[in-house]
């Protein structure tokens, strides 16, 4: 499966059970990245996709239930338990530091190859960096 995450400069993901930040241009990009394939999210993420032309599958156990071709947008949990299922990780970096108490639990410098890095302007963030990693 394919995993998509948003990270701050310290690989933080969330603070006090809430996402660190959001940006509609990031949502737009990850929907494009997903294409026609299924986009799985946790129920918490549902409001983020309201108003976008993409059907999402909200499931509290979405990582366990994802198929190999699915895209999973992960905001508030580690992905290490399903590491063996992951073939691609797409990272959106905020290029900011936010408070964090949940951090990304994969070291992308070990066993992962970055095949794309590109910057684009967000709606509320000056610069978003998108990176794609494969094994």
């Amino acid at each position: 499966m394919n995993v998509m995450v948003c990270l701050d400069d310290r690989c933080g993901m969330a603070f006090h059970h809430r996402r660190q930040s959001r940006d509609r241009f990031v949502v737009n990009d990850l929907i494009s990245q997903c294409g026609e394939r299924r986009l799985l999210i946790e129920p918490y993420s549902t409001p983020l996709f309201e108003g976008f032309d993409k059907e999402t599958v909200a499931d509290s156990d979405f990582l366990s239930n994802a198929r190999l071709s699915d895209y999973c947008f992960v905001e508030r949990q580690g992905i290490r338990p399903v590491l063996s299922k992951i073939k691609q990780i797409i990272v959106y970096r905020w290029n900011r530091v936010y408070p964090a108490d949940l951090y990304f639990d994969i070291d992308l410098s070990k066993g992962w190859k970055r095949i794309l890095v590109t910057d684009f302007a967000g709606y509320s963030h000056k610069k978003i960096t998108k990176e794609i990693y494969i094994r």
Partner: protein, 295 residues
């Protein structure tokens, strides 16, 4: 005093409403911030290695009556010692800066000293630290909004929270109740830390919700909060003695070890150095403790 404060808290929403109705203004600026319940420093754990700690389960103490989508900002009058009090705002797009920040060097908050340490980011120990960050309300050289704060508190402690609020507001056009309260011990001129609270209004905290205490500390520096004077944590104060410890340094990896650490045997002789002194001084010089022996 407490009763008077309670009354003020109760009548504040009414005053707020009257101001809106009579002045017809979209943005309000006030000079008297509602004081939250005073945080006791005895409720805050001693500073260790995190720039902040959560308070009250990270839930802010705003009341339902305080939840408004009308932007405003209020700053407490300076007290008799010239110290800032609570700064309180409902942050919205309408308050955010539209031009670059100007100079604030003319403001000298209580306890201010211009002092440099080589190991401090940017060298200067103290920053003129906005209680409510410029990026949130465009309030710049306001003496009621600037305290003497360490670089560490400003950048590592407060800035991430300001970033979170600013970016949320820009993205959603929502409002965030935001209160920053400097906490002083007795008549100290430098705050021990600041209490920060925030709650997004339109979604009732789903977007932004935090309540933290940020330490006004700087690793490697000992601060006299009464006056703002400071010294390297390793330098002895007039009434104390240095604690001397023995460590083995790896001058190449910049790690230090206990003499009994098994890693010591693998350090090349040319990189090995015996050190007698304090741990704080080593840390201030950029050495990190070995993760095996945890000296």
């Amino acid at each position: 005093m407490k009763a008077e404060q309670s009354k003020l808290v109760l009548i504040w929403p009414i005053l707020l409403l009257l101001c809106v109705l009579t002045a017809g203004c979209d943005v309000m600026k006030g000079s008297e911030a509602t004081e939250p319940n005073q945080l006791s420093l005895s409720d805050v754990p001693a500073f260790q290695d995190s720039p902040y700690v959560e308070l009250n389960g990270n839930e802010p103490l705003f009341t339902d009556e305080q939840k408004t989508t009308k932007a405003f900002e209020q700053y407490s009058e300076l007290d008799r010692l010239g110290r800032c009090g609570s700064a309180y705002a409902c942050i919205g797009r309408e308050l955010m800066p539209t031009e670059e920040r100007g100079s604030i060097g003319q403001i000298k908050p209580t306890g201010w000293h211009t002092v440099k340490y080589d190991f401090v980011d940017g060298k200067y120990l103290y920053n003129r630290c906005h209680l409510i960050g410029f990026q949130l309300t465009a309030e710049n050289a306001n003496e009621k909004n600037l305290i003497t704060g360490t670089r560490y508190m400003n950048v590592e402690g407060m800035l991430p929270f300001e970033n979170m609020v600013a970016d949320y507001v820009k993205e959603t056009d929502h409002h965030v109740l935001y209160r920053v309260t400097p906490i002083y011990e007795g008549e100290n001129l430098v705050a021990s830390g600041v209490e920060m609270e925030a709650l997004s209004v339109e979604d009732n905290g789903e977007g932004v919700c935090f309540h933290v205490y940020v330490y006004n500390n700087q690793p490697g520096v000992t601060i006299d909060y009464k006056t703002g004077e400071s010294r390297l944590s390793t330098q002895s104060s007039p009434d104390s003695e240095d604690t001397l410890e023995e460590y083995v340094l790896n001058t190449s990896s910049r790690k230090f070890h206990l003499p009994t650490c098994t890693s010591v045997n693998s350090i090349k002789e040319e990189n090995k150095e015996i050190y007698q002194g304090s741990r704080d001084k080593l840390m201030a010089e950029g050495y990190e403790p070995c993760k095996n022996c945890n000296p």
